[in-house]
Symmetry: C2
Subunit: 271 residues, 2 copies
């Protein structure tokens, strides 16, 4: 029995939102819903227009025999600013200052919906660049799964120690400026293919030594660095990796108070 | 200008899927879309029926002055079986056996869509129980954010070591049977309120010592244990916590091969 337009719109919207950056053939939708090609085209047109108006993403249609539909989260500049503003407000309003120039923000990073918004905003910056994998630091980068979802790829967390279930691993060492110690970084050998384009995602940047460690790990896997995305930049802008990084928020913790503001993503040169 | 039904259906579907277990007032939808109450009621009815037919969740409407709409992911038994079957097939088909009775499954846990499906399946088991927080072991429980999202709560990962950005922490020790070592478990003091109902989520169960450590941590915070949900149970069923646990998958790793099968969730006594 043919599925009604109203139900097709609900089904296709659900499917696209759950499968960002995964092309699905028009044929499979047509077979599933028992509708004419022209009806499906109209459905897609309605959804494309709706997503565009709401500033949440683009629905791309490829014509021809391999014709397919792909939803790509693309947060409009206006929505990006609104999302980041709200996080900045939260960071500035609370008693989040910790000794040593650190900021308590675990609660923000434990709200699933906020994580998804951050993921969509970061993914939007890498839409036209090749990204095969999102790499993060174990237990810190809770935003990595959201970024990976929005980009339609998978993610891997590197750890300080290997686990029994990792199998063979590749390890690098790096010197941490803040702890004055040598640290180990580990990734399962089979988790990352040679030649992959790897996007580094981290929640907080301070001395940059962990990022440098991860960059070395990417080299050890013979992979390419696709970018570095940071939620909150507490480095005072003094850092200089081999590769530029993008931050959503700048943090200036001074004695007993925090000043959070828009990150370098919003700087003029980036717009 | 009033929003057309087709666009309302797309908007409301998106909103509900993104905000599981968050009641939203009918009034706010009516104001947003400039439609009559009866039109909105019909929209909700269409969406409720659609979600029910697809076996993905229930849309609950509360009438009256505080009337609201809530979407609760509720995976039907049939869909639950299909989702878990597909993971079992994947686990059995590949060269995943690791020495010591462990199984490589990091790749499965790095696919955002699979994580969301697992999250919805686990959340479905705790629909009628009070859960305020999802707690997991840092870097292991990548399914915790998905479970938390589906339940509409936040999650926290406990770690072996405190981080600078944790602020004050509460610590417990536990003895690990597999490593014959004493381990430390840490949670930021402000991450968990006294009296909260805490659901423990972990990806792999072997000796159970980590779970026992987390249970002690929950006691140290004067919180209540709402349940223990395990993706893959490799314990051979010999474990006995103070509280029953639910597993989605059983794993029997023998010399050089793995046998994955349905977990205790599918046992007759649980149905």
């Amino acid at each position: 029995m043919a599925v009604k337009r109203r139900d097709r719109l609900i089904n296709i919207t659900s499917f696209l939102l759950e499968h960002p950056n995964h092309p699905v053939t028009a044929k499979s939708f047509i077979e599933k819903y028992g509708c004419a090609k022209s009806s499906l085209s109209k459905d897609i047109k309605i959804i494309r227009h709706n997503f565009a108006v709401r500033g949440i993403g683009r629905v791309h249609t490829q014509v021809g025999a391999t014709g397919g539909v792909t939803y790509t989260p693309k947060v409009s500049p206006k929505r990006t600013k609104a999302i980041i503003s709200s996080i900045i407000k939260d960071l500035n309003n609370h008693d989040r200052y910790l000794p040593g120039g650190y900021v308590y923000m675990s609660d923000i990073l434990s709200r699933p919906y906020t994580l998804e918004q951050i993921g969509d905003v970061i993914a939007t910056q890498y839409l036209d660049k090749p990204v095969d994998k999102v790499l993060t630091m174990n237990g810190k980068g809770l935003i990595a799964p959201s970024v990976a979802k929005a980009l339609g790829v998978s993610f891997i967390p590197s750890a300080h120690q290997s686990k029994i279930s990792d199998g063979a691993t590749i390890n690098v060492n790096y010197f941490s400026a803040s702890s004055h110690q040598l640290h180990n970084l580990v990734l399962p050998q089979r988790s990352l293919k040679e030649g992959s384009n790897v996007l580094i995602v981290d929640d907080y940047l301070k001395e940059g030594s962990t990022i440098n460690g991860i960059i070395n790990l990417i080299k050890a896997f013979h992979c390419k660095l696709a970018g570095i995305a940071i939620l909150a930049d507490g480095s005072n802008g003094h850092l200089n990796f081999d590769h530029p990084y993008q931050s959503l928020i700048r943090i200036n913790p001074n004695e007993g108070q925090i000043k959070a503001s828009f990150g370098n993503l919003f700087d003029k040169k980036n717009n």
